[in-house]
């Protein structure tokens, strides 16, 4: 079921997004697609939506019926590192995910965040690319 939701969400993003748009505002704002390796609970593929209201980064992981809203997200603009915390409601109960990464290719519209994820259920590499 989770895989089906992911495919539907991915298709929605692919169909609705049209071509990748330049994004010259806050660098994390937008839709991101990638992988969190070895995530046996939620699968390898991951979608992240992020926004910026002028004070805080908001967002969610895997938007849909099982979305995981951000609890906190902080960006260090001197190092371009980002830390995201989000609580997922799973069959195993609430699982807190901590993602730490670095923005790469900042100047490009299809910039990346590369780092790691970890939770009580495991850990692994985390890579997403802005669409």
């Amino acid at each position: 079921m989770r895989a089906l939701i992911f495919v539907v969400a991915l298709s929605f993003v692919a169909l609705s997004g049209a071509p990748a748009m330049a994004q010259e505002g806050h660098p994390v704002k937008g839709s991101w697609i990638g992988t969190w390796a070895n995530n046996k609970l939620l699968g390898n593929d991951v979608l992240v939506i992020m926004s910026w209201d002028g004070k805080a980064i908001t967002g969610m992981i895997n938007p849909g019926t099982d979305d995981i809203p951000f609890k906190t997200a902080t960006l260090d603009p001197d190092k371009w590192t980002i830390r995201i915390e989000a609580d997922a409601k799973t069959k195993a109960g609430v699982v807190t995910y901590v993602i730490e990464g670095k923005l790469e290719n900042l100047a490009m519209h299809n910039r990346s965040i590369v780092g790691t994820w970890k939770s009580s259920q495991g850990s692994g590499a985390f890579t997403i690319q802005r669409q």
């Binding site: 748009m21 330049a22 994004q23 010259e24 505002g25 806050h26 660098p27 704002k29 910026w52 209201d53 002028g54 004070k55 960006l75 603009p77 001197d78 371009w80 900042l106 100047a107 490009m108």
Partner: protein, 373 residues
């Protein structure tokens, strides 16, 4: 091939004084390394007379005796023609010497500072910035029958537009910033003085500056110069006032003949045009009213897909501009803007400059459709 590359800061300084950076639709430094000089001797194979930049292609003898083709980038045909040049000023087969800046990426491209015909020793395709003549005496501001100043053309269809801004860079008023006309800081330590940027915006701005503005979407993708930037561009803006319909059309000379509308009929920003309620736009959504002799424009609804300054100061879709247009005399337009964007700045900030009336002329036909080669 005769190619000499040497570090010469004086060449870069010369270019600044010559104003080449101010004329180009992008910062020359974005693509070419102004700290180096390249000299090419070769034979013209093609003159490509197209905006945004004309190019001359030259065959240069390679080290192995073979012919290697180089692209020589020039100013726009508009500027070249203003300076008296035409496509046929050079023809294939002419022998030339080019002195300029080599491309940063190592490709066979040179920005031409001087292009000399070997046979005659005559320089060709050199450009001098030309401002309209200053009137001997100030002429009064033209007005409509109701007394409102005319921002655009005169009765009887005499055309004209506004250009030659007194500043081509967007910097907070009274800030002491050492900045080139193309928006590049001469001292990166001045970055925080440019505008009251939030930490993320300041860091993005520094990154863009460190990359010589090469990521400017106006350069890379011909994105429109929305916001205040359109009033600092080389090819000006034209106001077409429709008093009956209570709106002003703003035609953007450096923006692929884009236009946007200032509504004075009391409508709001949202839902200005049926079917297109509130999509953020490159030129935003503008409503205005007259305050004395000044048109006050409340301008919102910008997207985040362009740079609103040539120096790369970021903005977000929370950007709001209050723009004031005052035709202080016949030949002078005062433009003042207050920038508010809680997504990118810590407080509102203001700046302003003047533009000159270019009478008896239509906007130049400048199209930035691609960025050859």
């Amino acid at each position: 091939m005769k190619l000499r590359i040497m570090g010469v800061a004086t060449v870069a300084l010369l270019a600044v004084f010559m104003g080449t950076s101010g004329l180009a639709h992008h910062s020359v430094a974005a693509k070419f390394d102004e700290s180096k000089s390249a000299t090419l001797n070769g034979i013209v194979t093609l003159v490509d007379w197209r905006n945004p930049h004309a190019h001359v292609y030259v065959n240069v003898r390679g080290q192995k005796g073979d012919w290697v083709n180089w692209a020589i980038e020039l100013a726009s045909p508009i500027d070249l023609e203003e300076s008296g040049w035409e496509r046929e000023s050079l023809v294939p087969g002419d022998a030339v010497t080019v002195v300029g800046y080599p491309a940063r990426n190592g490709s066979r491209q040179v920005w031409s500072n001087t292009l000399t015909m070997s046979r005659t020793g005559r320089q060709v395709y050199n450009v001098k910035p030309m401002a309209p003549p200053v009137p001997l005496a100030k002429r009064p501001t033209p007005t409509w029958p109701n007394g409102q100043p005319r921002l655009g053309s005169l009765p009887g269809g005499v055309q004209g537009y506004w250009a030659f801004p007194s500043s081509t860079v967007l910097v907070e008023k009274d800030a002491k910033v050492d900045i080139r006309p193309d928006g590049l800081l001469r001292n990166i330590a001045d970055a925080p003085k440019v505008a009251p940027m939030q930490p993320w915006a300041l860091s993005v701005y520094r990154n863009r500056q460190a990359r010589f503005l090469q990521d400017d979407p106006g350069f890379l993708n011909c994105k429109p110069p929305g916001g205040p930037r359109q009033f600092q561009q080389p090819y000006g803006v034209q106001f077409v006032e429709d008093q009956e319909r209570q709106r002003v059309f703003v035609l953007v000379g450096s923006g692929n003949r884009n236009y946007w509308i200032i509504y004075l009929d009391g409508r709001s920003h949202v839902g200005q045009v049926g079917g297109d309620d509130d999509n953020p736009l490159y030129y935003g959504r503008a409503v205005a009213k007259w305050a004395g002799n000044t048109l006050e424009v409340d301008h919102r609804g910008f997207n985040e897909d362009f740079w609103f300054t040539n120096g790369g100061v970021p903005h977000t879709d929370q950007l709001r501009l209050v723009e004031r247009f005052t035709r202080t005399d016949f030949d002078t337009l005062q433009y003042d803007v207050t920038v508010t964007d809680p997504g990118a700045f810590t407080r509102p900030w203001s700046t302003g400059w003047t533009l000159r009336w270019v009478g008896g002329a239509e906007l130049p036909a400048h199209f930035c459709q691609d960025n050859r080669p």
